[in-house]
């Protein structure tokens, strides 16, 4: 199958070599002589094939961190490197998914997935079967020629996910990708994402508000403090894969969730009385 051939072309790297290396990264926004520190001295290594989530309160700079990793916004201080190459401009070998699906309304589902090919002037015809296969596996078989406004929110976000996967990038950056979806759709998307990830083990940096979503999906969960965002905790999630929803009722899962929630309580963000 064509899609299968395109997957896993990435060369296997030394296991200890980080795929993404974030070192002492700061981000400040200056406006009207006031300086606002969004991200404060964050250092972080992500290994190839690792699924890393960042949880944190709103406005803690987790989205800013992701944007800096993608090279879309510059850092104020520190360095970010992907595969030992320092990021100074948008890094294009990546799939990005935002909370809003950012589909182009004037393009069909298929043309949205193939946007990258138009921008990079790659052969559309060559990638068309890949796109159709991706859509099929996302449950969008037969929707290729629909326009985004004809789809539901969950379907739109699936298209956005296919669009991120089309070039088979080794890195996925996801900024609260399921945050705008209803609870049921969100759970399905979690399962689908896990399945896709298990199939080709891309490196994933996943931003979320949801503690249980982070624990469910990740190899590692990082907890960010309220602004200025620092990494307050770095938890390894040792749960077998594929993970199932029933695991959420298990004590081990509950302990991870409680640990992270404890961090939030320590920030004074959660008060039970």
């Amino acid at each position: 199958m064509q899609a299968a051939k395109l997957i896993d072309i990435r060369t296997v790297q030394g296991a200890d070599e980080p795929f993404v290396r974030i070192q002492n990264v700061d981000k400040s926004y200056v406006s009207r002589r006031r300086s606002l520190k969004a991200v404060d001295n964050v250092s972080l290594d992500i290994r190839p094939g690792e699924f890393v989530s960042i949880v944190g309160p709103s406005g803690c700079g987790k989205s800013t961190l992701m944007m800096m990793v993608s090279g879309l916004i510059p850092t104020t201080g520190g360095t970010i490197a992907i595969e030992n190459k320092r990021i100074t401009r948008p890094y294009i070998d990546v799939g990005v998914v935002f909370q809003r699906d950012a589909l182009l309304e004037w393009r069909t589902v298929l043309a949205n997935v193939l946007l990258q090919m138009d921008i990079r002037r790659l052969d559309r015809a060559k990638y068309k079967p890949v796109a159709i296969e991706l859509l099929k596996r996302a449950g969008l078989d037969g929707f290729e020629n629909y326009y985004p406004w004809e789809l539901s929110g969950g379907m739109r976000q699936r298209v956005a996910l296919c669009r991120a996967l089309i070039g088979n990038p080794p890195l996925l950056l996801m900024d609260e990708p399921f945050g705008a979806l209803d609870a049921l759709t969100r759970e399905q998307m979690n399962l689908d994402l896990q399945r896709i990830w298990l199939e080709n083990r891309k490196t994933v940096l996943f931003i979320t508000h949801s503690i249980s979503e982070a624990v469910f999906l990740s190899d590692r969960v990082l907890v960010m403090s309220p602004r200025p965002g620092r990494i307050a905790a770095d938890l390894r999630i040792d749960l077998p894969r594929p993970r199932r929803f029933s695991m959420r009722e298990q004590p081990s899962f509950g302990r991870y969730v409680a640990q992270i929630r404890g961090q939030f309580q320590a920030f004074g963000l959660l008060n039970e009385d």
Partner: protein, 280 residues
């Protein structure tokens, strides 16, 4: 892979709705309303002892229109070329200017206040000056039509280009898009519905501009004919001119709307689908 459970409501490709969206009733209602209006007008003027100098009956206006058809056609051609060219000039200058204002901050700072100041000048007030500069021929009318119609095109182009969702721009850049590619693939198509909104407003304004110009000084055109007929106390011909002018404006408007339907189909269809989902 589970089939999407959230696909309810979009099981089939929806059929394209007729222009105007909503079946026979969308033609029927305005047609009936128009007929009633003209019937009341006809009866009132015939049996209400209204002087034909004040308000002629619709049937008389139609008669006069038919009787003077070659003259009206000739004058229409003049007026139409004035407002079409004025509008075209407005679009040709307005759209690039809007893009320039969005992309070049110095241009925005330098030009935008001037533009707003220029817009607040009543164009009818500068029409005589333009005629002094450019003569009583067609050029001065084109320029007045341009001056009155280009502002909404500029403003809507600016709004449209700025309305792109930031995520869509980030996304294109993360795919390696150059600034021109961001414009071509994201900002410009996103702006098209707004630009067409501006063009539609501009199309009606351009007609007004051409007539204002002809009123000030001219020797042909529908505006000129209105002045002549009015001087002769030929109220029926004045109304015939108004009728012809209304038709010209409508045709022009609908041509632009047809272009919109071709270029911005995704947007128009979305609107129609929403209106049928909420109404009917």
């Amino acid at each position: 892979m589970a089939a999407p459970a959230d696909s309810a409501g979009t099981t089939g490709q929806p059929e394209l709705l007729p222009i105007g969206g909503g079946g026979v009733s969308s033609y029927l209602y305005p047609a009936v309303a128009t007929l009633v209006l003209f019937a009341v007008w006809e009866i009132a003027t015939r049996y209400g002892n209204v002087s034909t100098l004040i308000l002629p009956a619709p049937s008389r206006i139609l008669e006069t229109t038919i009787a003077n058809f070659p003259l009206l056609l000739h004058m229409s051609a003049v007026t139409a070329s004035e407002f079409v060219l004025g509008f075209a000039l407005g679009a040709a200058i307005g759209m690039p200017l809007g893009a320039l204002i969005v992309y070049a901050r110095p241009v925005e700072m330098a030009i935008y206040p001037l533009l707003v100041a220029f817009q607040t000048i009543p164009k009818a007030a500068i029409a005589p000056i333009l005629i002094v500069w450019l003569g009583t021929g067609i050029t001065s009318k084109i320029l007045i039509a341009f001056a009155i119609s280009f502002f909404p095109i500029v403003v809507d182009t600016i709004i449209g280009l700025r309305s792109a969702q930031p995520e869509t721009i980030y996304l294109a850049r993360s795919m390696g898009a150059s600034p021109f590619q961001v414009f071509w693939h994201v900002r410009f198509p996103n702006a098209l519905p707004y630009i067409f909104g501006g063009l539609k407003v501009a199309s009606t304004l351009a007609v007004i501009g051409a007539i204002v110009g002809e009123f000030v000084s001219s020797d042909q055109g529908i505006g000129y004919l209105v002045l002549v007929a009015n001087g002769d106390l030929d109220t029926r011909l004045v109304f015939a001119c108004v009728l012809v002018l209304t038709l010209l404006g409508l045709v022009f408007f609908f041509i632009i709307e047809a272009c919109e339907r071709i270029f911005v189909r995704w947007h128009v269809s979305a609107r129609q689908a929403q209106s049928t989902a909420s109404g009917d």
